[in-house]
């Protein structure tokens, strides 16, 4: 049986797992960005999440605080377009769960919804512009749909990972309208967006690390 809530330990485990996923996929993210951008997305994200990892090694005392520390660390270490945007995701999520000691599916939806809206406000991009939003927006929508359909927290997280993956893949034929890739015009089509890929990994690791049965949750 999976759990019905997300715990502090799981949030920490999720961010650490994401940092590992970024590190393992650094070269792939760099290749994707070299094709339509400037080849720094893997290095940018890895630099930031290595710093986050170092800060979270000792665990955390509060979910909102852990998310805020993550956001602030990203803000001062990543740079580029993805720095402010990923920082925004974590800072918004932190704000939206202030004071909570565990998170329900409803809480998670509110947090991710706030994060997606803030990324839109900061980057002024929309769905279909070939950015990380093409993974983020469907992932949030899938969470909402899952809640309406009465799915469990674990199933909802899995559905959001799947939606983010589909969204990432759907960026392949798109022509970029925001960020560096837009300078290429039609030459940006035929490549998957690097930011959408790193966002998919965020939801993929969330599905693996959050709402785990208690025994497993302690293992990390």
């Amino acid at each position: 049986m999976s759990n019905t809530v997300i715990t502090l330990d799981e949030v920490v485990a999720w961010i650490l797992a994401y940092a590992r996923a970024i590190s393992e996929n650094r070269a792939m993210l760099t290749e994707l960005d070299a094709a339509i951008g400037d080849g720094d997305h893997g290095a940018n994200m890895d630099r930031g999440f290595k710093a986050v990892s170092a800060k979270l090694q000792a665990g955390g005392t509060d979910i909102s605080q852990v998310l805020k520390t993550t956001g602030m660390t990203l803000l001062s270490t990543v740079g580029g377009a993805s720095g402010p945007l990923y920082s925004t995701i974590f800072l918004q999520a932190a704000q939206a769960c202030a004071g909570k000691t565990q998170l329900t599916l409803q809480d998670w939806i509110v947090m991710m919804d706030a994060a997606a809206k803030a990324v839109v406000a900061r980057g002024k991009a929309a769905a279909g512009d070939k950015t990380m939003l093409d993974a983020l927006i469907p992932a949030v929508q899938a969470l909402k749909d899952a809640a309406v359909a009465g799915l469990s927290l674990a199933d909802a997280l899995r559905a959001s990972a799947k939606a983010a993956e589909d969204g990432m893949e759907a960026t392949l034929p798109l022509i970029a309208r925001k960020g560096r890739a837009s300078y290429l015009g039609e030459r940006s089509a035929g490549h998957i967006d690097p930011g959408a890929t790193s966002t998919y990994l965020l939801f993929k690791t969330a599905a693996a690390a959050l709402a785990q049965p208690q025994v497993q949750a302690r293992k990390w």
């Binding site: 760099t30 940018n44 720095g83 022509i175 837009s182 015009g185």
Partner: protein, 333 residues
């Protein structure tokens, strides 16, 4: 990859350490967060001029810190925008009470990071204005792109606004002047070779020996089109024509002609391009009254050049001629 480095992860830091050691008479360098600040900052009563961007474009921006130009520069990782904490630190260091102007090249990352920095600076009560440089005619300025990139004109904007700040013009005046420079200047670049970002380890794009890329920016990103390699004179035509027509210059206009090297092209070749560009300008009735030739805003070791034209007024000419003492530009002193 063949580079004079120790380790890809240490490139920016070690280069900055060398810069600090070599130029302690002109700049103060902090490492964490990374900033390059004019040695006598803050200058009381003077608007602080601050810029920044990814590293790999040297001498831009750090090489332009000093009297008559920038008060501070924030270097990011190679080709990556710096972060708001760097900008805030530099803003505090150069605020002499008259406010701070941010000169921002038009890239999504730079825009967002500077935007967050100016929010933080204003929260501390520092007056901040931002001007965005977007002079690259190779990019269509439309709703469907991030807009034109900031390239060669940035160098000229930093020099001219820096001189105006030195005359104690106010923050709104200096910002308006910077916008005027941006409105009156345009650029276009080309590459003979790609460049290799140290932590990537291979060239950003493959360019066969008999081809060149027209309309590149300064980050090794591919350009608008790829054509067969042609002589320098033909290249000068390909770059001058779009720049002139976009600016809508009229016969009799005074212009500054700037031929910039991308990092891997020798001055010998840049002057061959300049020779033809000046000839084209003259043929169109333009008066080239000021000029600049050399590698001022580079793209690592990329071979190639860009051409920038700035329509001059008497005010702009006088500010261009005003004294400047920086690592990358020094005259009148």
């Amino acid at each position: 990859m063949k580079k004079l480095i120790n380790h890809p992860d240490d490139v920016v830091r070690e280069s900055l350490e060398g810069f600090a050691a070599a130029h302690a008479d002109l700049v103060r360098v902090t490492m964490s967060p990374a900033t390059i600040v004019r040695v006598d900052a803050p200058v009381t009563g003077k608007v602080g001029i601050l810029s920044g961007g990814g590293s790999g474009h040297e001498p831009l921006h750090g090489g332009f810190v000093g009297l008559g130009m920038l008060d501070a520069a924030c270097p990011g990782a190679i080709f990556t925008s710096p972060t708001p904490d760097q900008m805030l630190e530099a803003t505090r260091a150069v605020n002499g009470g008259a406010g701070v102007l941010y000169i921002i090249k038009n890239y999504t990352g730079d825009l967002m990071n500077f935007e967050m920095a100016s929010d933080l600076a204003r929260d501390e009560g520092i007056a901040v204005e931002s001007v965005i440089i977007d002079d690259d005619v190779a990019v269509n300025d439309s709703l469907y792109t991030a807009g034109r990139r900031g390239v060669g004109l940035t160098v000229l904007a930093e020099k001219i606004t820096g001189a105006a700040a030195e005359q104690r013009r106010s923050l709104p005046q200096v910002a308006a002047l910077c916008r005027q420079v941006n409105a009156q200047g345009r650029s276009m670049g080309m590459a003979l070779t790609s460049c290799t970002v140290p932590h990537v380890g291979h060239p950003m794009f493959e360019l066969p020996d008999d081809e060149m890329e027209i309309g590149i920016g300064i980050h090794g990103e591919p350009g608008r089109r790829r054509v067969k390699l042609q002589p320098a004179d033909a290249v000068a035509e390909m770059l001058m024509e779009p720049v002139m027509s976009d600016l809508g210059l009229k016969p009799g206009d005074d212009v500054l002609l700037f031929v910039n090297g991308m990092g891997g092209t020798p001055l010998t070749e840049l002057y061959i391009v300049y020779r033809k560009a000046a000839e084209i300008a003259a043929k169109n009735g333009l008066k080239v009254t000021r000029s600049l030739v050399g590698p001022y805003i580079t793209s690592l070791e990329m071979a190639g050049c860009s051409i920038t034209l700035l329509k001059l007024t008497d005010d702009l000419t006088a500010l261009w001629d005003a004294p400047v003492r920086t690592v990358g530009m020094r005259w009148g002193i």
